[in-house]
């Protein structure tokens, strides 16, 4: 390639290797080239030194949320973590997400998330509108659209202290990702869950453990999509819950006029 200056160096990686039963951090030296991300180096490790190193990835562009891990203890997408963030001499530690049980190496069992996803009642289409008749204004869909940017990397779930070192809370707490899903549906202009007897804020409290959240905002900090999880989803959900407990009849009226 013309005009290219190759700026390779030997990077130091410390990667967690093991399975559900046992494991350890192992040190590797691997070539790094200009512009590379942590995932590139993990791939080079696979191709040159540890062919059975287990990692998940798909898009390599921050769009699918497959490649989540902890880099120097911080939850990150490895495909969007540039090597240039670190010094060339620095040892970079890559470990699997701590909140979920390890399967092998950097791959962990994220089924908790899929179980929780299934427990949020789905969008309920409005009665009396045929496909093609939906009318919604941009300003009214923007809030839910923000939450729909979620790529389900589960980094927010990984970082939330309610479950990070307290797997006993997993039963009753769905985590920021799925509380946000409740908020998304609550703010969907045409969702008719309530008309059919549901109450999303109340479900967030009772079924998904909204009360566990003490708005530390750690989830927001790690979200690679920069979604305002706490400010835009969790806090408004808590406010609606408080409002409707204080003034149960006002709620229906407000929803209609939203």
């Amino acid at each position: 390639m013309e005009g290219t200056v190759e700026m390779g160096y030997r990077a130091r990686l410390r990667v967690w290797r093991g399975d559900a039963d046992s494991g350890e951090l192992r040190d590797y030296e691997v070539d790094a080239e200009e512009g590379e991300v942590v995932l590139d180096l993990l791939h080079r490790l696979q191709a040159t030194q540890c062919p059975d190193l287990a990692v998940r990835w798909n898009c390599k562009a921050g769009k699918c949320g497959s490649c989540s891990a902890e880099v120097n203890g911080r939850p990150r997408l490895t495909c969007m973590t540039r090597m240039s963030l670190f010094g060339e001499e620095e040892t970079i530690t890559v470990t699997p997400m701590r909140t979920f049980p390890v399967i092998k190496d950097l791959v962990c069992d994220v089924s908790y998330n899929y179980v929780k996803a299934r427990e949020v009642p789905a969008f309920s289409p409005p009665g009396g509108l045929e496909p093609g008749e939906y009318r919604m204004h941009q300003r009214d869909v923007e809030r839910s659209q923000e939450f729909r940017k979620c790529i389900e990397c589960f980094l927010c779930q990984d970082t939330c202290h309610v479950i990070r070192d307290h797997s006993e809370n997993k039963e009753s707490f769905s985590g920021p990702r799925f509380l946000m899903r409740v908020a998304e549906l609550e703010m969907h202009p045409l969702d008719s869950h309530e008309e059919k007897g549901g109450n999303r804020p109340e479900e967030a409290r009772g079924d998904h453990g909204l009360g566990f959240c003490n708005i530390t905002k750690c989830c927001t900090e790690v979200c690679p999509e920069h979604i305002g999880i706490t400010d835009n989803a969790l806090i408004p959900l808590k406010e609606r819950l408080a409002d409707q407990r204080y003034d149960p009849l006002g709620r229906l009226f407000r929803r209609k006029n939203r």
């Binding site: 013309e2 991300v37 062919p51 798909n58 898009c59 299934r118 789905a122 496909p131 659209q145």
Partner: protein, 633 residues
């Protein structure tokens, strides 16, 4: 193999992208017990990466749009090689499929009057792509995923079991289809996590496995795109068509090397971005082919007026179909007018305000900022062609998506015909929904006709399948062992260099020789390390068998077609030949090797022919074929 995990279903859908999920939703809605199998986690299929939008002639932004216009654009984009019936069904049904997504909860960007907004894209006459910023694929897959969940919730309410009617097997790779006397009887596959094998019985299987791009070095495609469905169909006796047509998207990232190939959405050009050479010249005006002269502007002034006044001006040539733009970029670089890293410039910074760019192209902004240190609101992007999509695939009946193998259906990128020699942007996502639904319905119809008499799975076939998948563990003699990672890299080099965007007979002969050699060595592919538990080395060894079969199809068909058309460009046969328009190349397996045969394309229905002017048809069709429209009806 009596002790292996087993399941019985009515329909097995292989693939959880747009096509697979829509097929599964349809099958389940017909009351069929359905399994969806996919190699990645649920929600991570390739569809999630689609950016620009989904094409459907809803006419929300320009009321002049309708299915006939969409049909015409699609046929032109594919240089009239498309299966016209598929193109017709696609154009007529796409709007319903998009509207249906809103009933599942999708939130598209809106027009001022509250309808679904639509954007311009290459080859589409009117703004036609429904979108959500530049993350439309994410919206599509999440919406379908959530619809699957809502059906599971309904099953839970009724049967106390979420998975009573529809179950997703995630991180599960299918290695073989099982047949009973030529009919589909089920599949064999393994859990990636444990390496344990599973036998699934079902009278109907829908292939929705996507594409083949991982056989090429520079590609926008993920590790999943190893042509598994194409290879499964071949091995089951089905025919692939149009395999010579591979789409190279004109704008992939070229720098830094680690991101080379990653897609830059066409929406950048749809929303006003232009292509420039190293000196800043807007070069696309030099590359408007004869067949498109009437609809594309030949001066920058006219091109720029088109954005605000599309009725009185012709379109900018940056919005030509992808094959044209990719070849133009290739040529600019070849002639020495490229950028330092071997691409050209894509400039949106000088065309839209920073605010507009952030609103319309947020994920492109993010991608360049994070991966290339480029701020697209003030700097130009460097781009070049990248292997993106395969037009070729399983030959299917347009109405039912049935292949020639009873019980085997195919939809989405793995199916062939719909896009002819070149796909228009946005026409894939709509294709997934239209033909995913039809495949689910086709499978239901097939099963109803069986009347409860189901094919049998032979134990011997299951044992064979398992043994052949475990073969790489048996290659223990270290002398002559082949490493899957190195062999894969070699294959990608061969395909990229010799069967890439510009082709030549002699080079493709050499490619076929090298593929044959790689194939021989592939028999000695070994698992370099580790056991069956989540072992990417082993997984790649298995995927390579499929990549090789599919690469042979691409190279053999490309060698046979001695003309240039759409996604197939030959230096030694540079022009388009109307004789070849009526001919489809089919690939089948005969005694383990790929055989290419010629098949006549079914003549287009007269009323559809009449949607075009005789002059335009004259550029593509032979005189005999034109006879029907030469006489007034």
């Amino acid at each position: 193999m009596a002790d292996i995990e087993s399941h019985d279903y009515d329909v097995i859908v292989i693939g959880a992208g747009g096509a697979g999920l829509r097929a599964a939703i349809e099958a389940r809605s017909h009351g069929l017990r359905t399994a969806v199998l996919c190699k990645s986690l649920f929600g991570k299929a390739h569809t999630v990466m689609a950016e620009g939008g989904i094409a459907a002639a809803m006419g929300n932004v320009n009321s002049g749009d309708n299915w006939q216009v969409h049909f015409r654009d699609t046929m032109r984009g594919g240089k009239f090689l498309n299966n016209w019936r598929m193109a017709e069904l696609h154009a007529t049904e796409a709007p319903q499929r998009v509207w249906e997504l809103e009933t599942y909860g999708a939130l598209f960007d809106r027009t001022a009057d509250g309808r679904i907004s639509q954007r311009n894209f290459g080859g589409h006459e009117y703004p036609r792509l429904a979108h959500v910023g530049d993350r439309t694929g994410l919206e599509l897959i999440r919406t379908l995923q959530q619809k699957v969940v809502s059906l599971q919730q309904a099953d839970h309410a009724e049967h106390g079991d979420y998975e009573a009617g529809l179950r997703v097997f995630a991180e599960f790779t299918v290695t073989d289809l099982l047949l009973d006397g030529g009919r589909v009887a089920g599949t064999v596959g393994y859990w990636r996590e444990s390496g344990r094998f599973v036998r699934l019985r079902a009278p109907a299987v829908v292939l929705a496995t996507g594409g083949i791009g991982k056989s090429f070095k520079v590609t926008s495609n993920s590790w999943e795109y190893t042509g598994d469905g194409h290879a499964l169909a071949l091995r089951a006796g089905a025919r692939l068509i149009n395999m010579e047509f591979v789409q190279f998207h004109p704008t992939g990232m070229v720098w830094p090397p680690s991101v080379k190939g990653i897609l830059v959405t066409e929406s950048v050009r749809g929303d006003g971005g232009v292509l420039r050479d190293a000196a800043g010249r807007r070069f696309m005006f030099d590359y408007i082919p004869e067949v498109f002269k009437d609809s594309y502007a030949d001066t920058p002034d006219e091109a720029d007026r088109w954005y605000s006044d599309p009725d009185n001006n012709r379109r900018p040539p940056e919005l030509l179909p992808r094959d044209e733009v990719a070849r133009a970029i290739n040529n600019e670089v070849k002639e020495g007018r490229g950028t330092p890293h071997g691409g050209v410039y894509l400039d949106v910074a000088s065309r839209l305000s920073a605010e507009e760019i952030m609103r319309r192209l947020p994920s492109m902004h993010h991608q360049f900022k994070e991966l290339a240190d480029v701020d697209i609101t003030s700097e130009r992007m460097e781009v070049g062609p990248t292997c993106h999509y395969v037009m070729g695939g399983v030959e299917v009946d347009p109405d039912t998506a049935a292949s020639s193998v009873p019980g085997l259906f195919a939809a989405g990128e793995v199916a062939g015909g719909m896009h002819g020699s070149n796909r228009l942007g946005g026409n894939s996502l709509s294709d997934l929904l239209v033909f995913g639904r039809r495949a689910g319905a086709g499978a239901a119809e097939y099963i109803a006709a069986l009347g409860g008499e189901h094919p049998e799975v032979s134990e011997a076939a299951v044992t064979d399948a398992v043994n052949s998948a475990l073969a790489p563990f048996e290659v223990t003699d270290t002398r002559g062992q082949e490493n899957p990672y190195s062999l894969h890299a070699e294959l990608q080099q061969v395909m990229n260099r010799l069967v890439g965007i510009i082709r030549d007979g002699a080079e493709m002969c050499s490619a076929l020789e090298q593929l044959a050699e790689i194939r021989q060595r592939a028999a000695r592919l070994a698992v370099p390390e580790g056991n069956r538990q989540f072992n990417p080395g082993w997984h790649l060894a298995l995927d390579l068998r499929n990549m090789l079969a599919v690469s042979e199809c691409v190279a053999s068909a490309a060698l046979r077609r001695t003309e240039s058309r759409g996604g197939h460009t030959r230096d030694d046969h540079p022009s388009m030949n109307p004789k070849w328009r009526g001919t489809l190349l089919g690939c089948e397996l005969r005694d383990g090797s790929v055989e290419v045969t010629e098949h006549p394309q079914p003549p287009m229905r007269e009323d559809l022919m009449r949607l075009f002017s005789p002059e335009e048809l004259g550029k593509y069709f032979t005189e005999e074929e034109l006879a029907v429209v030469r006489t007034p009806s």
